[in-house]
């Protein structure tokens, strides 16, 4: 069996026993990137030092030195996360030449666990989008059918794991940007609780919603990565001091007695009928695993997209004010300072980013704050209260991750609202700050992946990972790989 077919935990075992060297492992995935990235455009840049890092891990291992739990494992990082000295563009022309002077905390942690960063993955510009079509570096294709989007904004991370160009990847999720692409590409993606993974070094989009998380083939691999990246960081003032759970240990507990809530409306209105069928079928799997299924109500989640498209652009308009042509590489020609700001931002940002900054600026401008931002933040409270009440009755909430399977490239580019609705089931978790995971279920009849979302209480990622892992023991949908050469149509 080739290395690319193996899960990260198996690769780590083989590296530990010396069956495979880190150098061979990293080279194997670099070769796959070399052969396939032309079709997928999943990577924006490849690490030039990856082989060198792998060689030094092999030397340390040979010398019998202690190594971290991921020693020699290749990993891909979304390009909105800073890696010192490596291009970090956030998918934007504005940062095309940007080279961060420091590592994000999660990058520091992954490196000290011995993971080897092999490249930076494509994304919607500043994580604004649901298809990776908003990247300055061109769209990413879905390896299950290259005429389709991989989802977004972490589309590059999802496509490279699904296409086995990297065993595992890291993404970020502001309104569904880990889970929606995981669903479209048939992989597992976890958005942790707000505060459980440090955001230091994550290029900010909407700071009260952004969260970094793992994108992997299995829940077990996500647990492995979470055990490295989660935890308090004094450099992120919203980082939680809550004791990090033993994510790997809790995976094996059975689900008997687990209470899972299902929101009836989420399985009706606007949901593709095939997605509905496959999600409903999966509910039976959880029943067989011993879980009790209960119907619950989340009356305010129907307002989540509207609240999100006020709150996120408001925060973005403030966060992205820093790109003014003074500090971050790109500057447009101008005769005075004011014109320099305007030209730099006019030329450096893509259309969707400008659109959202405009929307946020409008909503926060004098006279509009109460009608938009304040109102949306009150609706956000009500959505959070819906979750608080639901989690008194049930332990997890189950539903579809997305209303449809992956749509075609170009299908929604002229219709922002249609694109925004791709996140209809995912944004609520960001608004409430709770963790949520997407896992593959049976694909559609035309061979496109479908994702099931589980949402849990704050800081209970381990319950999500446990339920996802038990589901993956009972099913094999997560083991499916897209055929090579990739299908070009579906």
């Amino acid at each position: 069996m080739t290395l690319s077919a193996l899960n990260a935990d198996v690769i780590v075992d083989k590296l530990n026993t010396g069956e495979v060297t880190a150098t061979d492992c990293v080279q194997h995935f670099l070769d796959r990137i070399q052969s396939h990235n032309g079709d997928l455009n999943a990577f924006i840049s490849i690490s030039e030092s990856a082989v060198e890092q792998a060689e030094s891990i092999d030397q340390l291992r040979k010398a019998g030195k202690p190594l971290g739990c991921l020693a020699g494992l290749p990993i891909a990082i979304k390009d909105g996360i800073c890696v010192a000295g490596q291009p970090t563009t956030a998918g934007s022309k504005m940062l095309e030449k940007f080279s961060p002077p420091y590592d994000a905390t999660i990058v520091e942690k992954l490196k000290s666990a011995g993971a080897v960063i092999i490249g930076k993955t494509n994304m919607d510009e500043f994580a604004m989008g649901s298809s990776t079509e908003n990247s300055f570096f061109g769209p990413t294709a879905n390896p299950w059918a290259t005429n389709r989007v991989p989802g977004g904004s972490s589309g590059g991370s999802a496509a490279c794991v699904a296409g086995r160009l990297a065993p595992v990847a890291i993404g970020s999720d502001t309104g569904g940007s880990i889970r929606q692409p995981a669903s479209f590409c048939g992989i597992t993606g976890l958005k942790p609780t707000y505060g459980s993974v440090s955001r230091y070094g994550l290029i900010a989009f909407a700071s009260s919603l952004d969260q970094i998380g793992p994108m992997t083939r299995t829940a077990k691999e996500s647990a492995l990565l979470m055990s490295v990246i989660a935890g308090f960081d004094p450099r992120d003032s919203t980082s939680s001091k809550i004791q990090v759970a033993d994510f790997l240990k809790s995976l094996e507990s059975p689900l008997s007695g687990l209470r899972i809530g299902v929101v009836r409306e989420h399985l009706d209105e606007g949901l593709d009928s095939e997605v509905n069928t496959k999600i409903t079928d999966s509910i039976s799997v959880f029943k067989q695993l011993g879980a009790n299924i209960e119907e619950i109500e989340m009356p305010h989640t129907k307002s989540a997209i509207a609240a999100y498209y006020i709150i996120a652009p408001c925060e973005a308009s403030s966060n992205l004010a820093r790109y003014d042509g003074v500090r971050y590489t790109f500057r447009a020609q101008a005769d005075d300072l004011e014109e320099m700001y305007r030209n730099t931002r006019g030329q450096g940002f893509g259309d969707e980013v400008k659109q959202r900054i405009m929307l946020g600026t409008y909503a926060l401008s004098s006279g509009y704050y109460e009608a938009y931002y304040l109102k949306a933040s009150k609706v956000r409270r009500m959505i959070k209260q819906d979750y608080d009440e639901a989690f008194q009755k049930v332990d997890l909430i189950l539903g579809p991750t997305t209303p449809t399977t992956a749509f075609k490239l170009g299908q929604h580019t002229q219709d922002p609202l249609a694109m925004y609705l791709a996140d209809i089931y995912t944004v609520s978790a960001n608004l409430a700050g709770i963790p949520a995971i997407s896992v593959p279920v049976e694909p559609s009849s035309n061979g496109l992946p479908i994702g099931l979302q589980l949402q849990g209480r704050a800081y209970e990622e381990s319950s999500l990972l446990q339920a996802a892992h038990q589901f993956q023991i009972a099913t094999s949908w997560h083991t499916a790989n897209p055929s090579e050469p990739w299908r070009t149509q579906s």
Binding site: A306, D324, G325, V326, D336, R345, Q355, L359
Partner: protein
């Protein structure tokens, strides 16, 4: 701004003003297209007006643990000025350099 949330945003003076506030240069065509999209999105989010919000609902701004994060005020090593300025479009090695704040109107 004198406009109320009910007025159509695609009306140019408002779009112009937002672009100015956001410090984004948009040409005529972009202004129109931006105005139309804003109109569409604002029309969609206007559904929030239908949500019944009782008096006692306080806004939720996100962080789950709403406590101040305080830490000892200790000196720790930070990234060097040289490294930071490496990303500057223009610098003299010590400071960022920018175009004139006021345009020279003599010539």
């Amino acid at each position: 701004m004198s406009n109320s949330p009910e007025q159509p945003i695609a009306e140019q003076p408002i779009v112009n003003r937002i672009a100015k506030l956001a410090r984004i240069h948009l040409d005529q065509q972009q202004l129109e297209s931006s105005g139309n999209k804003l109109e569409q999105i604002l029309d969609f989010v206007s559904q929030l007006e239908q949500v019944e919000i009782s008096e006692d609902v306080s806004p939720f701004f996100g962080a789950i643990e709403s406590v101040n994060a305080i830490r000892e005020d200790q000196l720790t090593p930070s990234v060097s000025r040289e490294k930071i300025l490496d990303n500057a479009p223009e610098s003299d090695g010590e400071f960022y350099l920018v175009p004139p704040v006021f345009r020279n109107t003599d010539s």
